[in-house]
């Protein structure tokens, strides 16, 4: 049986050559962003002595009168309308709860849901009101940093390569085989436990490696970038995709296609 082994090597700094032309305004905590008091302060800033000061290290984003600083990586902060994927760890135990929910959703189940409300202390309340959400059956979960998931109109994508993906805003990404019938979405309250074919499994494994690849090279995740990466990775074997030299090659091709598509 052949075995391949690699020794640890110093990380190469990410190349800036394929960067955008607009120079971002990068700040660190303690930096004054502006002394103009007309601006509203958003996340990552605080007001001190008539000046707007940054409280995280990242890039300044300005939308009309709102200034906020987007940190490089943060824990997920819930916003109303976000899609999240997660595992139930604890349940409220009350009589009505027992009768109603326990039949459908148990502890340890993996579910997709939408954020309904955000409390003042940061806790979020979720709902699974439409059949689009609910229990997730067979598939692969990838955990990435929430800052790499692009905000889009929809987070449920059926990719043409033969699998579907849910991009949770909290950084949990669920890859699953596309259900044949349109009515059975990945959701509802019964899990589909039919065996998944080998071809589907290969597509899902390749997609999972592609997502890990994109995340390592800090490319934003959305349906187009994942698709382009999948297509660029086809010449390579699935298990080779995580090798550094192949990663660079695939990401460079992906970036190229994404830039062409934008420009």
């Amino acid at each position: 049986m052949a075995m391949e082994m690699r020794l640890p090597v110093a990380r190469k700094p990410l190349s800036e050559s394929v960067g955008r032309d607009t120079k971002k305004h990068l700040v660190v905590p303690g930096d004054t962003i502006t002394t103009d008091t007309g601006f509203m302060r958003g996340h990552g800033t605080y007001m001190g002595e008539e000046k707007l000061i940054a409280s995280v290290a990242g890039s300044v984003e300005r939308v009309n009168k709102l200034i906020c600083v987007k940190a490089l990586k943060t824990r997920y902060n819930g916003e109303v309308g976000d899609i999240v994927v997660g595992r139930i760890t604890e349940r409220r135990r009350s009589a009505e709860d027992e009768l109603a929910m326990r039949g459908f959703l148990q502890e340890v189940d993996l579910i997709s849901a939408e954020v309904q409300a955000v409390f003042s202390d940061g806790a979020v309340s979720l709902h699974t009101r439409s059949l689009k959400y609910g229990k997730l059956g067979q598939g692969v979960l990838v955990q990435v940093s929430p800052s790499l998931v692009k905000r889009q109109k929809t987070h449920f994508h059926d990719l043409p390569c033969g699998a579907s993906v849910i991009l949770g805003n909290n950084g949990f990404i669920w890859i699953y085989p596309t259900p044949e019938h349109k009515e059975e979405d990945a959701g509802g309250f019964t899990a589909n436990l039919e065996p998944v074919s080998l071809a589907d499994r290969e597509v899902i494994s390749r997609l999972r490696n592609c997502i890990v690849l994109l995340v390592t090279q800090r490319v934003m995740l959305y349906d187009t970038s994942i698709l382009y990466c999948y297509e660029a990775s086809l010449p390579h074997q699935i298990k080779d995709l995580l090798k550094p030299e192949i990663m660079e090659e695939v990401v460079m091709e992906t970036r190229q296609r994404l830039l062409e598509q934008e420009g």
Binding site: E16, L26, R75
Partner: protein
């Protein structure tokens, strides 16, 4: 008796530095992928590693949760191989607890805890090699780790130690200088506003000299800030998402 001359007539210290000169500082952020934030710093031969988890839900007793702010939990540990002689240090011994408490006081002053009520922020610091100035190295490493985790802070927290020998204030003491037994002071500063997060000294120093020692420590802390600022900016620039929206 041939004593060790901490400050020569020409103004050179044992390792060849001048009185107000810092040791070489090298730092890296994001050294651990599993943690929310991590950093490694080397100040001369002192090496410290800091790891931050949070803000997350309070583990253990929910009763400890503060309704209006986050709990900052700091733990300090020193590796057995960190000093000249290999010494087993059990967790929870007095020095570790005291350091942990000091780190907690320092970071409670800097982290904007009101933004995360009912949560907990864990900061774990480990000293891998101790050659003087361990508190300062821990604070500097923890600052970088907290920044790496994206936890909002008022400002950097930069720390440095200072001593007093032959009527001259020395900045950034090494182990040899600390062991000589003179007065030593540790200062943690928020550079932009000049506010002091923590000032610690447990030796005897005449009050006339306090001003100069404090000034030396503050100047050294500002120099540390310049270096850490450069490290953070470099890291942010490199890690900025190259294809955004």
């Amino acid at each position: 008796m041939a004593g060790l001359e901490l400050l020569s007539d020409q103004g050179y210290r044992v390792d060849g530095r001048r009185a107000g000169e810092l040791r070489k500082i090298q730092a890296r952020m994001g050294v651990f992928a599993q943690a929310d934030g991590s950093a490694y710093i080397e100040q001369g031969n002192t090496k410290a590693l800091a790891v931050v988890y949070g803000p997350h839900e309070i583990r253990g007793s929910r009763a400890r949760a503060l309704p209006d702010r986050a709990l900052v939990n700091c733990q300090y540990s020193s590796a057995t191989f960190s000093t000249g002689e290999r010494k087993r240090r059990p967790h929870g011994d007095r020095k570790s607890c005291e350091m942990g408490l000091q780190l907690r006081q320092t970071f409670e002053a800097a982290i904007l805890t009101q933004l995360h009520p009912r949560s907990q922020i864990d900061i774990y610091v480990q000293v891998l090699q101790a050659d003087g100035g361990t508190y300062a190295a821990c604070v500097n490493a923890a600052t970088l780790a907290v920044l790496d985790a994206g936890v909002p802070m008022r400002d950097f927290v930069c720390a440095c130690s200072a001593g007093f020998v032959d009527s001259t204030a020395l900045a950034d003491l090494s182990h040899v200088e600390e062991a000589a037994g003179g007065p030593q002071l540790a200062l943690a500063l928020l550079p932009a506003s000049g506010q002091i997060a923590l000032l610690e000294m447990d030796a005897r120093l005449h009050e006339d000299h306090l001003e100069s020692v404090l000034e030396a420590a503050a100047r050294a802390a500002r120099d540390v800030h310049t270096l850490l600022d450069r490290v953070v900016r470099q890291h942010v620039r490199e890690a900025s998402v190259l294809l955004g929206d």
